[in-house]
Point group: C2
Amino acid sequence: MTTSNSPQPHLDLKAPPPLPAGGLRVMALGGLGEIGRNMAVLEFDGQLLIIDCGVLFPEAEQPGVDLILPDFGVIEHRMDDVVAVVLTHGHEDHIGAVPYLLRLRADIPLVGSRFTLALVKAKLREHRIDPVLVEVAAGDDHLAGGFHCEFVSVNHSIPDALAVAVHTPAGTLVHTGDFKMDQLPLDGVLTDLGAFARLGVAGIDLLLSDSTNAEVPGFVTSERSIGPVLDSVFERASQRLIVSSFASHVHRIQQVLDCAVKHGRKVALVGRSMVRNMGVAQDLGLLRVAPGLMVKLDEATAMPPEQVVLVSTGSQGEPLSALGRMARGDHHQVTIEAGDTIILASSLVPGNETAVYKVINGLARLGATVVHKETARVHVSGHAPAGELRTLLNVAKPRYLMPVHGEWRHLRAHAALAEETGMGRDRILLAEDGVVVDLVDGRASIVGSVPIGNVYVDGLNVGDVGEESLQARRILGDEGFVALTVVIEPSTRTIVRPVHVSTRGFSDDPAAFTEAVALVEAELKRALAADDQVDAHRLSQVIRRTVGKWVSDTYRRRPMIIPTVLEV
Amino acid sequence: MTTSNSPQPHLDLKAPPPLPAGGLRVMALGGLGEIGRNMAVLEFDGQLLIIDCGVLFPEAEQPGVDLILPDFGVIEHRMDDVVAVVLTHGHEDHIGAVPYLLRLRADIPLVGSRFTLALVKAKLREHRIDPVLVEVAAGDDHLAGGFHCEFVSVNHSIPDALAVAVHTPAGTLVHTGDFKMDQLPLDGVLTDLGAFARLGVAGIDLLLSDSTNAEVPGFVTSERSIGPVLDSVFERASQRLIVSSFASHVHRIQQVLDCAVKHGRKVALVGRSMVRNMGVAQDLGLLRVAPGLMVKLDEATAMPPEQVVLVSTGSQGEPLSALGRMARGDHHQVTIEAGDTIILASSLVPGNETAVYKVINGLARLGATVVHKETARVHVSGHAPAGELRTLLNVAKPRYLMPVHGEWRHLRAHAALAEETGMGRDRILLAEDGVVVDLVDGRASIVGSVPIGNVYVDGLNVGDVGEESLQARRILGDEGFVALTVVIEPSTRTIVRPVHVSTRGFSDDPAAFTEAVALVEAELKRALAADDQVDAHRLSQVIRRTVGKWVSDTYRRRPMIIPTVLEV
């Protein structure tokens, strides 16, 4: 697997020294300094334990990329040392890269809760991988190699989420996974503060804790508060209702189904992942579906609009999703009518704002009423805000904190919260991907860093698209290119035929480069006359320089210039 | 000027009929269905009055574009009919396209307040245009051709903003411009509800009103509330302070200067537009600067950090701005130190979220504390939310409302507010760019629409980049290209030299297409053998088809394929 290394200008850390005997090493291959591709690697006594293995979704600066993986480079030669992958919950940013890790070694045991494993299994089936699964539940102990794992229930925006305490002779590390502290969760499963307190009394040496909402003051509003808001929207809706949410948010969908029952509407699921995940959730008893409630989409579209609710993917504005198509008026089964009501019962993941607003505007243009988190409380976050993070720190009383799961702004805000609760600054380890933290003799510290790159998935391939290709894409995407091809007869040093120009993305004017071509031909002739043999490289430079100057002077633009000199 | 027309799938409107004698026609060339490039054209008795002429900033779907202009196509043959351009205030989305309009006719009178005209004049100087300026103030009357204009003061996030009432024999149209109803404005200039009430009593036939914040409930918090928040941040800051805001937000900058005086810090302005605009504001007495307060940037960087505050552009995450460079650690004069405090005293314009968070994360990574609108109340919006929009409707009592200045979600939300206040649905005209509204015999209605395209500025040129180029840029930017060039000898129908491959943005692997080239050569030879003469077009198709299938099968990607067949 090829790795492209983005520079790490900061922290100026050297390669870490060897792990001292009896020490525990912790290193993130992803998820620190970014929201996504969460993956922590623990090392003790020559063995590796991995916690989570997720994907990161690309930004505009990574055009054309499908997914970004954690950089396995540091451990790929040590796959036989990996004793297990613990999966805290089933979100893509925690399980999405598992298929790519298992390409390196297929029989690494995957340890997780029932719902988490069901989701990862479905994903691996698509990759034709048959994994080794170890199901655990809150309260369970599991020995993975020399790592004694203990699982703690946490409350998040997906059922069956777990925190994990890892006991080793070096000390105890606790990883919260993603959590919040909804005190009225729909399924009654609370973040188990009692367990965190017990672990704290026994001694938590190092706490890795979710930083996502560290900048947000206060405490979460209960997921349960969404039900009445949905209910009031259902109450007012006189035509078709469409609710869009994350395909793994079982509790949110449950509340939609409950509203549907109450208001006498049938439900059709729209979107492949929605259908698949809700099937899994229903099978495991996590989603309660009233008999006769569900209909197929084609049945739903044939029914009077006031008798159905569609539950759809596309809450993040994905243009190819069902909702994205509806907003553009080109969904093959569902046509939005004036008076329809659409609810986006979801967060707005940073980076997706423009896409989401585009969908909302498209729906609004078609006459629909769109209810979203900025106009009604139809979403609550799945991550603990500042008040809850402080609470956890006060309950768990870790000796050291390593904020995880966040961009730098989140990690730093989390550190500030920890300082408020009385932790010394030297007890807070602000690390980013690749930074190595060792816990030795009860003392945790940053000891170095290893280079971590972005590993891009594009189509079928992993790693062949790197920073070089992305840089070219950015230039091409902004300015297009002009390719100029000249054929030279070497013996006579003459241009055999007129310079051929091919340009895309530069201008709608087909004659944009006519003037430049004449200049290029004159410069080439001069160069050919001056030299006593054909130097294709030098001629290429002549083309590049001549066109570059001309296009900059004429247009103030910088398209990519591709000179080709062919000798025949 | 070339115009590219994006399709308008909706509303299915035909071209408008001729304007009936005595009627007033209203048409937006921009600003309806988008936030930006605001421009309304009024027609009465053969004359045209333009209200605002702004630019729209491009989205990710318009890569490489610098600016988007209103589409002047509908009026460019009628420039002699234009009696004036009324500019409601000096923001770019209201004045930014004036230089491009004046290219069509330079002596169109520009009517606006003192500060607005000063900003537009500075802008036009850069375009080497010397405009005809007509200064007006709130309460003034001005006759522009047959349009009797009356100006009303409004409160906005820039000083000296105006609404305009346009009286014609067909009736009275009122355009609010951008406004909010801060009841404690820093400069004491209120939105003049009394004037709106008087106009309402006399009869407002058609109100065009700012929809930007129609989805936001309630009333604005006063700009004045920001002072104490800034003060508390200044109080806590022990090192350098940097405040970033819009370069036209004089009142915000005033509060920063006041804090600087109170806390004994000197101020340096950073960024060209900040320096220019604050100079203009100071000259006009809109910005009060204590003697000796200002220092130059190089003086500031030489002073102890706790004695200075930098006031900088870059609040929208612009990578080339001063703050953007500081966040990456490559500003040539300012180096961020751990413990510095940065305040982003600004909104987060939709579409800029990723860029702004990137700057915040960069600063956080360097150890700075970043205060922004999500962590402290260091920004209030400049636009009236729902409560104030209802208030205006109740005060002005227009017969008809045309929501303007908004995306579809805002326009529709504004319409819903109007319905709440008791306006009949038939009194609310939901239009988008190009939709034509006629006011005839006291009755306003949508009578048709004209095609409106996006006119792109890219470098020095206007209009040569259109949808065709943008579509190519999107493909190139996502997938790169592969260009294959083959030289054929026509008489022998042979390939003179191996197929030449040039690829950028597809893969970092230089040998990515080796296998494809062999396939192409085989297919070309087959085609050449089968035909009795060389058909370059057919050979190009062979290349495109062969490579397209191969790359799709091998990579599941779709780079742009550029075949070139040269005969020598």
